[in-house]
């Protein structure tokens, strides 16, 4: 099993007397209200999903991440994990050493303030997202920031309520789980979609060389038109129940925001799975992409720059169903032309489902389709 990223497993969850004392302290500390996405980042730090980070990035680390895709100590890290402050919040914490991070009126964490600094939003947006197009959701979010950041380690006081508690495993739990299952090699599959036959084929192909499969849907804010979190979970439950060996595949959710940073986010996704204890990470076509901002294989090529990432990327091209072969195939295995091929287009599948239809059995397992059709809403913000 790989060590935690950067050789340092982080646990910033307070418990017992220490937590009680910190909760009392929090009442007298200046409060910084944070949103749900930020709570997820705080939890990811505290649980060790973002190891080796202990808190929000300081100026040197951020600059290094933006410029080089590495922390200041050269450890691979591609996504800025930062806390942006507005003018009121800056005033409130001026001269203070600690602050309480608050969500919906309740303290979530204590922040030990190390620095308050400004950063170049334009440079960060272009380097992280590879574009300055304001229509890109990540660029838009970066440009909309106030531009003053606070850095320092956090200590978690309370975990956010989640409807996915049963699947919300922490790295300490997945590491024990893999060990107990006797899995020496574990391949992680990141997803933000409901599974079609192509996904299943890809996962099972990876399982032929790994001891176990870790299906890890991303739960958190997504863009309109994406599948709702509960829909993704239900559909995978149906797939695993009917088509996977319990001894070989497990699902747990990853509660974090989708950033649509394409290649850089692929590295980030791989690092998080390394921290969960996975040895391999599947990178498909246009991983973490949005629109046509990234070359479909940029998320695979970027791994060339990270020989020291400590998790093995597994690259797959697109699959399709070939009616002549009678099986799932790809360009490397199928000699037949397009007239025999049925693609696994996410857009088409979404359209069929939105119209109340059922994707063909060559594209989606009937049990998965049934699970989807039982849901009242399928898509974020009612799109589709």
């Amino acid at each position: 099993m790989p060590s935690f990223h950067g050789g340092r497993g982080i646990n910033r969850v307070l418990a017992g007397v220490e937590r009680q004392r910190a909760l009392e302290d929090a009442r007298s500390l200046p409060a910084i209200e944070i949103d749900r996405d930020m709570v997820m980042d705080v939890e990811s730090i505290a649980f060790g999903i973002f190891s080796p980070l202990t808190g929000f990035l300081g100026k040197d680390d951020l600059q290094s991440v933006v410029e080089h895709g590495r922390l200041a100590n050269d450890v691979p890290w591609t996504i800025p994990i930062v806390l942006d402050l507005d003018a009121d919040q800056i005033d409130r914490i001026k001269g203070k050493e600690r602050a309480a991070l608050v969500y919906q009126g309740a303290p979530v964490a204590i922040l030990d303030i190390e620095d308050v600094y400004s950063f170049d939003k334009d440079e960060a947006a272009v380097n992280v997202y590879g574009t300055d197009d304001i229509k890109h959701p990540g660029v838009a979010k970066t440009i909309a920031m106030n531009g003053t950041l606070v850095s320092g380690p956090i200590s978690l006081l309370a975990e956010m309520e989640t409807p996915f508690k049963r699947y919300a495993l922490k790295p300490i739990e997945t590491r024990v789980l893999f060990k107990e299952k006797g899995w020496r090699t574990v391949v992680a599959f990141q997803t933000r979609n409901v599974p079609h036959i192509g996904h299943e084929y890809l996962q099972k192909t990876a399982l032929t060389f790994a001891d176990g499969l870790f299906i890890n849907p991303l739960i958190g804010k997504k863009k309109p038109g994406d599948f709702l979190d509960e829909v993704i979970v239900r559909s995978y439950e149906a797939l695993i129940e009917n088509y996977y060996l319990k001894a070989k595949a497990v699902m747990a959710v990853l509660q974090t925001e989708m950033r649509y940073a394409g290649p850089r986010e692929a590295i980030h996704h791989a690092i998080m799975r390394k921290n969960f204890g996975c040895t391999h990470f599947i990178v498909g076509r246009d991983h973490a992409g949005v629109g046509s901002y990234y070359d479909p294989f940029a998320a695979q090529k970027i791994f060339d720059d990270y020989p020291d990432i400590g998790i093995v990327p597994v690259f797959f091209n697109s699959f399709f169903y070939c009616t002549k072969c009678g099986s799932v195939s790809n360009e490397k295995t199928c000699p037949h032309d397009d007239s025999y091929r049925i693609g696994f287009s996410g857009t088409k599948i979404r359209q069929i489902l939105a119209d109340g239809g059922e994707p063909p059995a060559e594209v989606m397992r009937p049990e998965v389709t049934r699970a989807l059709l039982e849901e009242e809403e399928l898509f974020v913000e009612g799109h589709g």
């Binding site: 050269d74 049963r166 495993l169 590491r175 107990e180 020989p307 400590g310």
Partner: protein, 77 residues
Amino acid sequence: MNTTSEENKFTSVSIPAPLFNKIKDRIAGTGFTSVSSYVAYILREVLAETPETGTEPFDKEDEERVKDRLRSLGYLD
């Protein structure tokens, strides 16, 4: 004299000139734009082969507690 932040991010390492030239020839036509970037890549690769050392942030007691939770969630029998 003031040093720029860029100067602080890189430092020099001496290698024999013939080796430098050999690397220069080797990287021609590859994705590497300089001998420095090639050497940095190789060094990172070599360092990564030595397993990162570090302690797990949990002990035996935590592990038993985790196993109980995994059993209650149905992950372990």
